[in-house]
Assembly symmetry: C2
Homo-oligomer: 403 residues x 2
């Protein structure tokens, strides 16, 4: 048995890790306008001791320069330094984009010793990094800071609030290890994990070989279940760094804690979805297979007609049904049953909403989070996906800001 | 050789066909609110003589009652009467929805002789048809009317203008045949042909066996290339009726004319996309295969981030590139070349837009239609898809109206 307890402090909750975030002037660059209430634009995460690292990157065929830079390190490499910048994705910048990273890290090495430093970037596509500005950070960072708040804020783009979480896992013998994390992401979130950066650090004594499987399982149960608009960016990254200094590990407990951390970050990203006013969980059960359940749940979370009906708080179950039918899964209108929270919305025996039920349904939809359950009645397949509504502000943010 | 000449008159341009549209009060039903400047809600198309018929229906697994009713007729059946209603899709209404259609046609048969009558419906999902209101039309229709305008208006839902087109095909010997058509559709249009009804009538002497292949080819080159929001409805129908009374036919000429008619209707539907302010053609060439070109073109026409950038007239080619990369096709940022009309926007040799080119790109985007060409540089595959922008009004229309 084990216990998972939330902690304050984000990354700083984990011994041996240091972090900071500062402003080097990228947010004032006219080509990179954006949120104005976030002041940092460059952050670091470093460890006193070499860390094992696992990362899951975007499935976009155009991978950004920092991802390609990461992949040039030999398999199983260790690192002790991660540099993150906002406002410029360093994507579609070709070989020059990778050379810029080398140039930045040459400058860092002239200041201090680092082991296989990693870069991660988010922001506008197609502009070279302002390397001089980024390099200027190396004289200004407080390398002994443990300022997770500053780091979490410096990596944001169209986000409206920082994403930070931490927890402690206590085993039966009283020994414990910790996980701390920060993330950014608001628009462009998709079941394929889009324009999202997440960094998890841990002092658990996890074997290097178990890191990527654990991270993949966690991402699959969190970021890959949320959708804001169905696009997939060039820069998505989920990264796990382990310094192993606690000397403590428990496989099941670690996986559960990691999944909790990633799920908490995913829900923050979804709630911060550009212009979103509510978060809805789409639970599809009774599908022919789990894969079909997932296909239908993801289709629901991505449908523009469903999203706008959610924003309008219109209990128009026809759009739910039509989206399931269009998703290509095995289904039958005689067997389908739809609930909003506990309220029966559609079944073959009760198809049309009477005005009482319509008002009750409308009342459920006014909540800022609720559950839509669709039982297909075809088998035992089950899945859940999370989505948000589509508001005027989504259009405004994406028409007006270059992100 | 042959000549295709546009005609006025829509359905009425074709000899032997009659049509009308009237209001039976469905548009004032509170459950069916919608556009207020369209006054009809029920229309018919009939022929003096039996017609061969071909139809292509939605791929949605929940097919509406009228589609299931149609499919109960034996293969190769002939018809002389099509009844169309707006404001109620008769979808997700179960066996009762089909019985309602039988009941309506029983009433029609008590008034006049009809051969295998067909029904087609569009509107809100999940409500039983108001059969009494619809039956009341049978005493009020002018069965000898050739009022294509009234019919075209009566079938609209969130459309803001009627869709009607006709043409005459003249062969070398001076003989000729005609095609006339009406359609409805504004929102929910997808490459999978969504919430769209189109009815084409012809007096060409086309063999029954050639009708469906011709219709399928035409739909593939028109409705299946337009996208408003990526959803697929329960009711989509493209139907071709041939009374063969001209005694004239020419296979190639017929196919070209049918494709022109369907393409013209598709462009009207796209231009009437809910809240759309501009139409953009996405031409993907240099793909590894035609299928990959189509996959990328469709992804571009469906991407919310591309659509909002079009609305904002922001020459943010990074979203175009990112969407291509996310679409799963073979691509390479060193080989990709993007043009907006004739203006070079991205190539590996010229990645970042300077301010002059940015202004020129912005000027192109201010047009109400333009071409985005993406050469992937990987092969000879080519395809084109058409999309519109996503505006505040899209959200407004879909949040506020039950469609």
């Amino acid at each position: 048995m084990y216990k998972i307890t939330p902690l304050e402090g984000g990354l700083a909750a984990v011994p041996g890790f240091y972090c900071d975030g500062i402003n080097v002037g990228m947010r004032t660059d006219p080509a990179n306008s954006g949120s104005s209430d976030i002041d940092g634009d460059v952050a670091f995460i470093r460890s006193d001791t070499p860390c094992d690292v696992a990362a899951i990157f975007t499935t976009n065929r155009f991978q950004a320069a920092p991802i390609r830079h990461f992949k040039r390190y030999p398999e199983g490499f260790q690192t002790d330094f991660v540099l993150i910048n906002a406002k410029n994705a360093n994507a579609m910048t070709g070989e020059a984009g990778i050379e810029d990273i080398d140039h930045i890290f040459d400058a860092l090495r002239s200041k201090r010793t680092v082991l296989n430093p990693i870069m991660s970037s988010t922001g506008v596509i197609g502009y070279r990094l302002p390397t001089d500005k980024i390099i200027s950070a190396f004289d200004r960072f407080d390398y002994d800071a443990r300022d997770s708040d500053a780091a979490a804020r410096a990596i944001l783009t169209t986000d409206t609030f920082k994403k930070e979480v931490a927890c402690e896992v206590t085993l039966e013998d009283g020994s414990c290890f910790r996980l701390g994390a920060i993330a950014k992401g608001a628009g462009m979130i998709d079941p394929a994990m889009a324009t999202m950066l997440a960094f998890v650090v841990t002092d658990a004594d996890i074997p290097a070989s178990e890191m990527e499987p654990a991270l993949r399982e966690g991402v699959d149960a969190s970021f890959n279940r949320i959708s804001v608009d169905g696009d997939t960016s060039t820069n998505d990254t989920a990264m796990l760094l382990a310094n192993r200094v606690s000397g403590v590990y428990h496989r099941t407990a670690f996986r559960e804690a990691l999944e909790q951390v990633l799920f908490a970050l995913a829900m923050m990203i979804l709630r911060d979805g550009e212009g979103a006013t509510k978060v809805v969980a789409f639970h599809v059960k009774g599908a022919a297979t789990d894969a079909e359940a997932r296909q239908a749940a993801v289709a629901l979370s991505n449908s523009l007609l469903v999203k706008t009906a959610l924003f309008g708080e219109d209990p128009n179950w026809g759009r739910i049904a039509s989206t399931i039918g269009a998703s290509g899964v095995t289904c039958d209108e005689e067997r389908l049953v739809i609930h909003y929270d506990d309220l029966l919305i559609y079944s073959a025996a009760q198809r049309t909403l009477d005005s009482t039920r319509e008002q009750e349904a409308h009342a459920v939809m006014q909540h800022d989070q609720f559950l839509i359950t669709c039982d297909l009645g075809m088998g035992t397949g089950e899945s859940i996906a999370y989505g948000c509504d589509l508001s005027y502000d989504y259009v405004k943010i994406n028409a007006e800001y270059r992100t």
